[in-house]
């Protein structure tokens, strides 16, 4: 079969796989995005001893292969089946999709936490002081100054992390999740035509390209101050008329 025929015949499967990949990556990244700000805050502000469990978790997640983590959850949960059944958790772990999602969410949480921590450390301390000096409560400082800034600093790295996660999600096919890779292998095992792998690569490439585009647009909206517009320099600009130029009233008594 020529490559186009492969696509014509099997496109519904590939589309189905694409949706699965998007779902897996999107949900995993989203869960991680909801948890990581809290963990990053602990990493930045908590006492070293209080952070110890968190640092252990992050070291483990960043220091072991994501495939190993996936197997640990997928096969590991099988070992504990009676225990999980007792707790009513088996229906969750029975599904390969859920195991993969959990592995990816846990993994991405570790990375996003560290990325965000870097962003938080990069926020100009003076701006935090200015927020405190104006009387903001701790939570308001976080909400209005620290996090908005930290996310702007961390944004490109966070985008990278999502792309890496999307590519890593192909591993889910190993535990029988029918994502792009899973469907591709399925199609290959029927057609024995390797061109289906080329189509899979092209799909991954398209997702990445679209995502990068979206992420850049979002960055431009988030950080309009970084847009490359000509910066008006005070020296070229006409001097503003200052209202203070008028004669001063008498000194107070």
């Amino acid at each position: 079969m020529n490559p186009l025929e492969i696509l014509q015949t099997y496109w519904p499967r590939l589309l189905d796989g694409t949706l699965m990949t998007l779902q897996l990556t999107g949900l995993g990244a989203l869960i991680a995005a909801m948890v990581s700000p809290f963990l990053a805050l602990v990493r930045v502000q908590a006492a070293p001893l209080a952070q110890a469990p968190l640092r252990l978790y992050i070291s483990f997640m960043r220091g072991t292969p994501i495939l190993a983590q996936l197997f640990l959850i997928f096969y590991g949960s099988g070992q504990f089946r009676p225990f999980l059944q007792e707790w009513g958790l088996w229906s969750f772990f029975r599904e390969p999709f859920n195991c993969a999602l959990l592995a990816f969410a846990l993994n991405s949480t570790a990375y996003q936490t560290e990325i965000l921590r870097g962003g938080m450390l990069g926020v100009n301390a003076g701006e935090i002081e200015a927020a405190k000096a104006i009387g903001m409560k701790r939570l308001t400082v976080l909400r209005r100054v620290l996090f908005p800034h930290a996310y702007r600093i961390a944004w490109p790295a966070l985008g990278n992390e999502v792309i890496l996660l999307m590519k890593a999600s192909a591993l889910a096919s190993v535990v029988t999740v029918f994502d792009i890779m899973g469907r591709t292998r399925q199609v290959f095992s029927r057609s024995f035509d390797f061109s289906v792998y080329l189509w899979a690569a092209l799909i991954y490439l398209c997702i990445t390209a679209l995502f990068v585009l979206f992420w850049r647009l979002a960055e431009r909206r988030l950080s309009p101050q970084l847009a490359r517009v000509p910066v008006p320099r005070s020296r070229d600009a006409p001097r503003e008329a200052t209202s203070i130029a008028r004669p001063l009233p008498d000194r107070r008594p």
């Binding site: 002081e129 200015a130 927020a131 405190k132 000096a133 104006i134 950080s223 910066v231 107070r252």
Partner: protein
Amino acid sequence: MSERNVILKAEDIHKRFGDTEVLRGISLAARKHDVISILGASGSGKSTLLRCLNFLETPTSGTVTVQGEAVLVKHGRPVDPRHIERVRARIGMVFQQFNLWTHRTVLENVMEGPIHVKGVPRAVARARAEALLSRVGLDTRATHYPSQLSGGQQQRVAIARALAMEPDAILFDEPTSALDPELVGDVLRVMQSLAAEGTTMIVVTHEMTFARDVSTDVVFLHEGRVAERGPPERMFTRPETEAFERFIAG
């Protein structure tokens, strides 16, 4: 001068960083309309003192009272930490490095405090911010970001930001030290006009002209203590301590 007019009072402020005692028992009172210039060689503790007044540094011991609300510090901890935010909201601060929020426009910088600290309705905050910006001569820059402004313009925005809170007093921490010489004048003129309107100000500065011509009181710090204080007319013509005499001689 009655006690009633005292807006901000610091009593027996001590601050210790490890083994060095930077402030060794400083008392200071600003009455309504006072413009107090704090002078001193670098390392004399003047910036630390200013930062202790709104608890950006926590004094090792001492009391700061703002309009009757006292924050007592013992053993380096405020006795009631909840007071600090209330005190800060009533005392403006202008920094040497401006410290504008770079991800917000000039107008948003000025509106931020009133909306998110005082709960002022957005429209009211906006109208007031616009008025303040035109007051410091920057109404045409409202939609710019801080990075698009010169240092002098940024500092004037920072002053407008402090004013927007309608503070009882404003602290200035070497407001012109980070500016190009030709931009210093704009900022000083704004400060001068504030003084003329009766704003209570405490200014750490190296600008002798400002201290002499604009302030109502001069406090000279030397080695963590108030070495000399008094009205500028007297201080600059008849210094009483050798340390201050040497200081103004340059």
